[in-house]
Amino acid sequence: GSAAEDGGPPAPERVLFPPTFSVSEIKNKQRRHFMFLRWKQQQRKEKLAARKKRRKEREALGDKAPPKAIPKTIENQRVYDETTVDPNDEEVAFDEATDEFAPYFNRQTVPKILITTSDRPRGRTVRFCEQLSTVIPNSHVYYRRGLALKRIIPQCIARDFTDLIVINEDRKIPNGLVLSHLPDGPTAHFRMSSVRLRKEIKRKGKEPTEHVPEVILNNFTTRLGHSVGRMFASLFPHDPQFIGRQVATFHNQRDYIFFRFHRYIFKSEKKVGIQELGPRFTLKLRSLQKGTFDSKFGEYEWIHKRREMDTSRRKFHL
């Protein structure tokens, strides 16, 4: 019956509470701040007490305790992308066998890279280009003297270059990267940030040697990510020289691609030490174009549209 319900006040259905006040209703700022701090402390105490209790319960139960709750991370909560590549997908495998990188992956072509900048590069960009060319084997840096990209590209193709990298510069710092696979391959346009030259990296090792480094591509899950990953892989020659013990990593996390260059050493079977050499930078994909660089008539496979694509914090495209 209703008598057994509340047990306190004899009101029929509504339960009468003493009038509480919320901290935000106090008009005086100092007092409000003080009350808020007090409320916060109380919350923290309660949380700590709850946690202790939970821990005691878990210990008491021992083996029968329920498994620990997995904390929610952004990666856990990521919105499922329907273009995620399944490793056994035949269609994807077929596509990859016939796309522009097939000759590279079939070892028919050896990568040859041309690195250049935008007009009038400043010192930092020039040094970055040099360091990048030491990292990527078989790459050449050419000074761009006001030449149009569209005219360079046929010349590059004639001289057997497989890839073109253009580093765009603004106010003396490099801030953009255009990576174009030459014989009619896709062009990717990235925004580059946090560029660190070799001398700015702490605890770095000696210069990268001439050995061909290994390549690690992490977390490229969707179709788009897959094609971008293959683009990066096609920059490096196919057979790494393990003697060099150098590894170049492209790690994708939440649509940011981090590039690092390390020298590794196996201290034991379960432990490996890595030492960072070489420049580091972060890339964010802005657009992927089907043909070679052509801003006006190119066919864009993917453009980052801020209003449509940045609506959810848990949605990533690479």
Binding site: I216, I243, H251, E269, V272
Partner: protein, 289 residues
């Protein structure tokens, strides 16, 4: 009356076209010939005046005479100049014939300057131009923050180390590295399968080396001695030993001094091995220098 105008505006009272700077006075009037505020270049203070102005790439000669001073709408007479530089100069001359030298000269100078900058404009538009894209501050800040958080979430060092260890496990590096435990397991597996490959035996060696080292040190035996002993223990063929040596040599040369040396320094000395079939520790040791 132009003198009066100048006395009033130019020198004493306020002229809204006048801009004063520390060293000079400028005139903002669009019909001004030189751009400075002078008695001779003020279009208000001169009843007979001429200028060159350009509109959409074409140059016009503007003239003002006393007769039209009462009709502001018809005050400035406009003449289109030819596109040809020399012809245009001639046209200026013929229109400003009998005009004061100063105005004629300044008109021609101004016309020259204008044509020069028009040429530059045309040349620049042919070259590639930088497209300036405005950055949105809020978005830039957001991107930067997200990048930092992504960096923290990425845990790059761990990820790279994990990947490298994975590759080691899957044998992508082949025979370059030889590690005890892993190899010992593999050796056990292979022994079970009864297909003893030589590399395993060598790795077994290493394993026993590590153990033996601790063991033997209590006996105060020489380093090289128990090196021999170990080899005597497990290897059964000399080929294995040779291969083992070459392996070790390879790993040594490759390490570039960065490997923490596996135990005491191995000295390669030629010696003759004598085989023992016992499993227990042999007491006699033989060595040939």
């Amino acid at each position: 009356s132009s003198q009066v105008v100048w006395d009033m505006l130019g020198n004493r009272q306020f002229c809204s076209y006048k801009i004063t700077t520390k060293t000079q006075n400028f005139c903002r009037n669009e019909y001004n010939l030189t751009g400075l505020c002078n008695r001779s270049s003020c279009p208000l203070a001169n009843s007979q005046y001429a200028t060159i102005r350009e509109e959409k790439g074409r140059c016009y000669l503007y003239m003002k005479t006393i007769e039209r001073a009462a009709f502001p709408r018809r005050l400035w007479e406009r003449v289109l100049l030819s596109k040809n530089y020399e012809k245009a100069l001639e046209e200026i001359d013929e229109n400003l014939i009998y005009w004061p030298r100063f105005i004629r000269h300044k008109c021609k100078q101004r016309f020259t300057k204008i044509t020069q900058y028009l040429i530059r404009i045309r040349k620049l538009t042919l070259k590639r131009q930088r497209k300036l894209v405005p950055l949105r501050r809020k978005i830039e800040r957001r991107e930067k923050r997200r990048e930092e958080k992504a960096l923290i979430a990425a845990q790059l060092d761990n990820a790279i180390e994990k990947e490298l260890l994975e590759r080691l496990k899957q044998d992508t590096y082949g025979d370059i590295y030889n590690f005890p435990i892993h190899a010992f397991d593999k050796a056990l597996q292979q022994q079970d399968a009864e297909s003893e490959s030589e590399s395993d035996a060598e790795k077994e060696d290493d394993d026993e080396d590590m153990d033996k080292r601790e063991f033997v040190e209590a006996d105060d035996s020489d380093l090289s001695d128990f090196e021999d002993m170990d080899k005597l223990e497990t290897s059964s063929e000399e080929e294995q030993e040779e291969e083992e040596e070459t392996e070790k040599k390879a790993s040594h040369s490759k390490s570039k001094g960065k490997t923490p040396l596996k135990g005491p320094a191995r000295r390669k000395r030629p010696y003759i091995e004598i085989e023992y079939e016992e499993e227990t520790e042999p007491t006699t040791k033989t060595k040939a220098a």
